[in-house]
């Protein structure tokens, strides 16, 4: 309508077409860090780094935590945190690989994993929104309980996929357009997450609930229900991640996903999402995750020794964040 009249000239309306550009600017530091890592890869291990198979490896490795990171981004933008992701993924993988479930075939297994994940997420969400528990504690309790339950169910053993269910394994070892299907699953989750966050009322409400829950409530948003759904969403992502990890390892196990919560949260925060909620992007989280994955990959290719890797990783995190901060600061200057 008459929008052009009220826009300040020098500051173009960030419409859909420009969103990319803004996104790029916002994540400049991350992209720079990623590029830097790529250059390091090309210089140190030119013959292995830039091969298709290595890139596929990186993406396949990123897929599991990547899917979880998408859910985590929602939860953190919504002002919460989910420590239970790794454990819930493990529980879902164990539940889906019990002999009873396996007897129904791969489709039921996938449904089972997704349902278990979503259910566990909704339960955490219920404790948080209706039980008024602090997210940190509620999801910590869920972490502990889900691992315990997974150990019980599996009798602490690794549960192999039955030969009849090898269709699931094809998700990882098969190739579609030269890529393993799990990479497409990962991509689909990322795209879906982006769309939901940026193009739907659910996403818009997520920012509101995280940014100012009181205001959201008074604006007529059912903050509690929404909060519960956010954790349900995170659980759903854990269920999908469980399918990926089953495909990759051909097993369900209570040990899967150990400390994934830290990696996922770190990726989200490096990606520029605030732990206080209300701000953040899926793109940033995924960039953050790719940086972590690429660091690992480079270390592997270069055969660095672990202790040095850890030290280097610490330094790289600091540098990436300082880079990003610099690029942010130059955009929005602050007072002293």
């Amino acid at each position: 309508m008459t929008n052009h009249s009220i826009r300040r000239p020098g500051r173009p309306y960030t419409g859909a077409g420009l969103l990319g550009a803004v996104g790029r600017a916002r994540h400049l530091g991350l992209v720079a860090a990623l590029a830097l890592l790529a250059v390091v890869g090309l210089v140190t291990v030119p013959e292995t780094f830039a091969t298709t198979s290595n890139l596929v490896t990186v993406l396949a490795l990123a897929a599991t935590i990547g899917v979880i990171t998408v859910g985590m981004t929602f939860v953190i933008i919504g002002g919460g945190i989910d420590l239970s992701v790794g454990a819930v993924m493990a529980l879902a993988s164990v539940w889906a690989t019990t002999l009873a479930t396996q007897s129904y075939g791969p489709v039921v297994m996938v449904i089972c994993a997704v349902l278990v994940g979503t259910g566990a997420g909704l339960l955490s969400g219920f404790l948080i929104s209706y039980g008024r528990m602090v997210p940190f504690i509620a999801t910590l309790a869920m972490l502990v309980a889900a691992r315990g339950l997974a150990e019980r169910m599996s009798d602490r053993r690794t549960q192999l996929l039955q030969p009849g269910n090898s269709a699931l394994v094809d998700l990882s070892s098969g190739r579609v357009l030269g890529l393993p299907p799990i990479v497409f699953v990962f991509a689909a989750v990322v795209v879906a997450g982006w769309v939901v966050l940026n193009r739907t009322t659910f996403g818009r409400r997520t920012y509101a609930v995280g940014g100012n829950p009181e205001a959201a409530k008074l604006a007529g948003i059912d903050v509690r229900k929404h909060t519960m759904l956010l954790y349900g969403l995170s659980g759903l992502c854990c269920g999908i991640a469980a399918v990926i990890i089953m495909a990759r390892t051909t097993t369900g196990s209570s040990t899967h996903g150990d400390l994934y919560e830290l990696d996922a949260i770190a990726a989200v925060i490096i990606g520029g999402t605030l732990l206080t909620g209300g701000r953040g992007t899926i793109g940033g989280s995924i960039l953050g995750l790719l940086i972590f994955t690429l660091i690992t990959n480079l270390f592997i290719l270069n055969g660095l020794n672990t202790s040095d890797q850890l030290i280097a990783k610490g330094l790289i995190i600091v540098i990436a964040v300082l880079l990003q901060r610099r690029s942010l600061r130059s955009r929005t200057q602050r007072d002293p």
Partner: protein
């Protein structure tokens, strides 16, 4: 106990294998193992590397150790992509890494499976590892015999496991229980620690409270054993016999002390990593094992679990790893 000057890499002197040690064609050996976050695994990684370095014809390519299966899969993938001549893999979990090992084998890369076994024989060329069940059996026999000798009826036997979710832990416990059964004994209490000193201390100090009188204690791992011993000393308890596991140099020195509760340890030697690298080299170069008649390296080699006591500890000390 990294304070002592590093003992020589624990691998048998290359006497009879002289012929095999002469340089052959150049081979690249990839190596992947869990994160070296405790002494035994650290010794594994060090032994493998040191052994490889002794051969001019071996290019050793270790990848980032990790405790995350997902990452180990990627690490092995990258080794396959690099087309190494042989792979030595100590998987975090044999079943979870089976698929990727199988892929390596299918790609024509011989896999030497170290310690934790892959369920699918098509996934590896040769398996070499310790005898977890046998370890439990050895510990059970030592304790059973000691208690029988003292004529203890209905003894309190406590077991401190390593990481409970590992199949090797379950094997050890089963062997222990089976051996004890032959004496008519059973395990009174069982708790698991994380293979680290500190978890050893906390689990042990709680267990010592739960049982005011203990007759025997088996601790699966000498690394966490340092912590278990610290807790025992702190509580001032010495009424029982303690048996360790793995055979660290530190445990052996402890066994040498007459007043220590640690009377024995059952071996699970990280020297297997040295052997695994040697085997990988031989396989990649198409050689057999010198002492054997066969032209090729055997399909599986199980190390014996030996019991180290004060009587024979001198002999084993040079093989002990520094935890």
């Amino acid at each position: 106990t990294g304070n002592e000057p590093q003992a020589a890499v624990s691998s048998p002197a290359p006497a009879a294998t002289e012929g095999n040690d002469v340089p052959g064609e150049k081979v690249v050996i990839g190596f992947s193992a869990p994160a070296a976050d405790h002494g035994w695994i650290a010794a594994i990684a060090k032994n493998a590397e040191a052994t490889a370095k002794r051969y001019g014809d071996v290019e050793f390519r270790p990848v980032q150790p990790t405790n995350d299966v997902n990452q180990q899969i990627s690490a092995v993938e990258s080794l396959i992509a690099a087309k190494v001549n042989a792979l030595v893999i100590l998987p975090n979990d044999g079943q979870q890494l089976n698929q990727i090992a199988r892929r390596a084998s299918d790609a024509g890369i011989p896999v030497v499976n170290l310690d934790r076994v892959f369920p699918d024989k098509l996934s590896y060329r040769t398996w070499i590892g310790g005898d977890n069940y046998g370890m439990g059996v050895a510990a059970g026999h030592y304790i059973g015999a000691a208690l029988k000798e003292k004529n203890v009826a209905d003894p309190v036997i406590v077991e401190i496991q390593g990481i409970a979710t590992l199949p090797l832990t379950q094997d050890r416990s089963k062997g222990f229980a089976d051996a004890l059964k032959t004496y008519g004994f059973r395990v009174t209490a069982q708790q698991d620690a994380q293979f680290t000193v500190e978890t050893g201390t906390s689990v042990a100090s709680n267990l010592l409270q739960a049982h005011k009188k203990i007759d025997a204690l088996w601790n699966h791992d000498d690394d966490q054993g340092v912590g278990v011993l610290a807790a025992i000393n702190e509580a001032g308890r010495n009424e029982f016999v303690m048996v360790g596991g793995a055979g660290s140099a530190n445990a052996m020195r402890e066994i040498q002390k007459p007043d220590s509760v640690l009377k024995a340890t059952v071996t699970y030697s990280p020297s297997m990593a040295s052997s695994a690298v040697k085997l990988a080299r031989l396989i990649a170069q198409g050689k057999g094992m010198g002492d054997l008649v066969e032209n090729q390296v055997p399909q599986s080699i199980t190390l014996a679990s030996e019991t180290i006591t004060r009587e024979n500890v001198e002999r084993y000390l040079p093989l002990g790893f520094e935890s």
